[in-house]
């Protein structure tokens, strides 16, 4: 990348980070209690909630890893992005009403709080908090690593020097931590609003740009790919049908178990806004997914046609495309969108991780929260970010294992317990604990021992099917639980 282009991109990224800091300062005056810090005072409007839901789902993976997957395997990974709008529908149907009603009735400040209220079990709260904390550390570390890698390349490309990875991690984390500590979830969701808009704009512009990079436009791109390998342009891509379908299952059902998404459903001002928030989130995601597919297919075609040299790795598809085929200003917007995607996911994780550490685990173990919870929430945010940074820099393969472990773990551990449990009175605390423990064990074992399942079936999908089956089966085989009368009445609505 030439240095003038890198400088333009750096200016956009700098402007974006400056905006994050400004939002953090603005949100500081609005964050006066733990409820503000973790739940935004339950005062968010339709657009803020809708865009926050989708932008926290579309992480840095969607902007870097996604195009890389399409470049490497053709259409297979499209099953991931296709599934998310359907996943939102399911998530809203299962949770938007009930968890928001629960939020108003019991004023939980975290998802494990809601789990404890539903099952009347501190054991369920503890296990849910542990599952969240494990997933958060992995996810957060991979997001921080991605952010630092892109920043280092940009700074080097602009001729501003060769900074160490440690320095880039420290700088990117400093911005993230600043607005998360000062403004808590309020800063997080308002930056998500801007991040969501930037992502949508970037995706549309990139999609239009990809149509002109190869002879024949989109027809030319697809036709050259199909000539090289017809299978790559079949619905199943190179990985095959069962891999694609296992992602379809995992990502459709899994949205309802992502704590950074589900907690945002407790934060909207009016319960009835859910009917407008769903279309905003689904449309926002569907549009921003254009970037995932268009860059991946275009780069694959450009390399196959000999227009572009082979990439050093599949994950270079997006950076290389932006470096060579779009105007510098658009590249600047997309890089800002990339940082937006990473930070909007990371800030959500920081917030729910802090809630697990200062609120849920102490309550589960000691029966009460910490004194001056807001102070400790801010302190925990800094500590978790620092721990995730160290983890990202020095734990080697474990980051990748925990990063891959994230979505599947949340899905398998929390979909049965939260999404099904809040809609079914027969669900028992024993079934909930079993589902969480089994899902953690299966996911960790598969990732740690790198077990390859025949036909490319994703281990997360297996884990989800097992935990859901156990949850329903154990609940049906157990005596019906005695519910708290308020929860009982709430579940009738």
């Amino acid at each position: 990348m030439d240095s003038s282009r890198s400088s333009v991109i750096l200016v956009f990224v700098g402007l974006y980070m400056g905006m994050c800091v400004a939002v953090g300062l603005w949100a500081l005056s609005r964050t006066r209690s733990t409820r503000d810090f973790f739940m935004a005072g339950r005062d968010l409007g339709i657009w803020v909630t809708g865009l926050a839901v989708f932008s926290s789902t579309m992480s840095g993976f969607g902007f870097v890893g996604g195009p890389g997957l399409v470049y490497r395997m053709g259409m297979t990974s499209v099953w991931m992005v296709m599934s998310i709008p359907l996943g939102y529908v399911l998530c809203f149907a299962l949770l938007a009403k009930r968890i928001r009603l629960l939020a108003e009735l019991r004023e939980p400040v975290s998802l494990p709080d809601a789990v404890a209220a539903r099952y009347g079990s501190e054991g369920c709260r503890f296990l849910a908090a542990i599952a969240i904390l494990l997933g958060v550390m992995g996810y957060l570390a991979t997001q921080i690593l991605a952010m630092a890698t892109v920043l280092r390349d940009l700074v080097a490309g602009a001729g501003l020097g060769d900074f160490s990875m440690e320095a880039c991690v420290a700088f990117s984390c400093a911005v993230l931590v600043f607005y998360c500590v000062t403004g808590g979830i309020i800063a997080s969701v308002y930056t998500d609003l801007v991040q969501g808009l930037v992502m949508v704009a970037a995706a549309v512009l990139v999609f239009l740009a990809t149509a002109n990079v190869a002879p024949g436009g989109w027809s030319g791109i697809v036709s050259s790919l199909a000539t090289d390998d017809p299978g790559s342009m079949s619905p199943w891509g190179t990985m095959g049908a069962f891999q694609g379908l296992s992602w379809y299952l995992l990502f459709i059902l899994g949205v309802s178990g992502q704590p950074h998404v589900v907690t945002k459903m407790m934060m909207n001002r009016r319960i009835e806004d859910a009917k407008y928030i769903l279309p905003v989130s689904a449309l926002g995601y569907a549009v921003s997914a254009l970037l995932w597919i268009s860059i991946g297919l275009a780069m694959r075609a450009l390399v196959i046609q000999g227009i572009h040299p082979e990439l050093p790795g599949a994950d270079s598809a997006a950076p290389q495309f932006l470096a060579h085929y779009v105007p510098p200003v658009l590249a600047g917007i997309v890089f800002a969108a990339l940082f937006a995607a990473i930070m909007s996911t990371a800030d959500g994780f920081l917030n729910i991780g802090a809630a697990a550490v200062v609120h849920d685990i102490p309550r589960a173990l000691r029966g009460r929260s910490l004194r001056d919870e807001l102070f400790w929430a801010r302190t925990a945010t800094v500590i978790i970010a620092a721990a995730a940074s160290v983890f990202a820099l020095y734990s080697g393969d474990l980051v990748a294992i925990l990063g891959a472990f994230g979505w599947g773990t949340f899905a398998a551990a929390l979909v049965p317990v939260v999404a099904v449990g809040l809609n079914w009175k027969r669900a028992t605390a024993l079934a909930a604990k079993t589902a969480i423990l089994v899902s953690l064990t299966i996911n960790f074992a598969f990732r740690l021992f790198d077990v390859q399942i025949p036909w490319g079936i994703d281990p997360g999908a297996i884990s989800l099917v097992v935990s859901l089956s156990l949850f329903v089966g154990i609940s049906l085989a157990s005596p019906p639980p005695v519910l708290d009368p308020e929860i009982d009445r709430l579940m009738d609505m």
Binding site: V78, S219, P235, A241, F242, P454, E486, R489
Partner: protein, 179 residues
């Protein structure tokens, strides 16, 4: 039908669907992947993969793919039903929900059939099954279910009666708190 009846029926159905899905996936896994299945390295570009073999030639495997996909759609529909069921079960939502399921499963079946019969046009040079996937399966089912959710919200998902009962619950809780 009461709430607990309809939801318990749905969870029994969910369990049956999950058991069937597990059985099908278990059979696949235990039999192992075919030797000529799966991605292979691209001969010219090592960072890319190529598909190992052609799907169009194996009707039995296509039938297996259809079965797994349809079961997954049924699981999705069942969970949607669980979330949308009110105090008196699914009520008037039952038919639109079933129609949505049929639409979703129908498009999926069309995509599978398009591997064998040329029953879809070729757009942007995508092969017919991919046209069905990209332009129909990706767009229509989510669009239908989002519209259903928006339309049904005030009438069924959170209607006047539910809001009234929730306000009563809140008042009784606050009354207890202040008392």
């Amino acid at each position: 039908m009461s709430d607990s009846d309809s939801r318990t029926r749905l969870t029994w159905l969910l369990l049956a669907l999950l058991a069937t899905l597990s059985l099908v996936l278990g059979t696949l896994i235990l039999n192992g992947a075919r030797s000529n299945w799966g991605p292979i390295d691209h001969p010219e570009f090592p960072t890319m993969q190529r598909s190992g073999w052609s799907w169009e030639t194996d009707d039995l495997l296509l039938a297996g793919v259809w079965l797994v996909g349809t079961l997954q759609i049924a699981v999705y529909l069942c969970l949607l039903g669980l979330g949308l069921a009110g105090r008196k079960g699914l009520g008037p939502l039952r038919i639109p929900l079933l129609l949505g399921g049929l639409l979703h499963a129908g498009i999926f079946a069309w995509m599978i059939l398009a591997h064998v019969f040329p029953i879809a046009p070729s757009l942007w040079s995508f092969p017919p099954p991919t046209v069905v996937m990209v332009f129909l399966l990706w767009i229509l089912p989510p669009f239908y279910f989002v519209i259903l959710y928006v339309v049904a919200f005030d009438r069924w998902i959170l209607n006047h009666e539910s809001r009234r009962r929730f306000r009563e619950l809140l008042h009784s809780r606050r009354g207890k708190g202040s008392g």
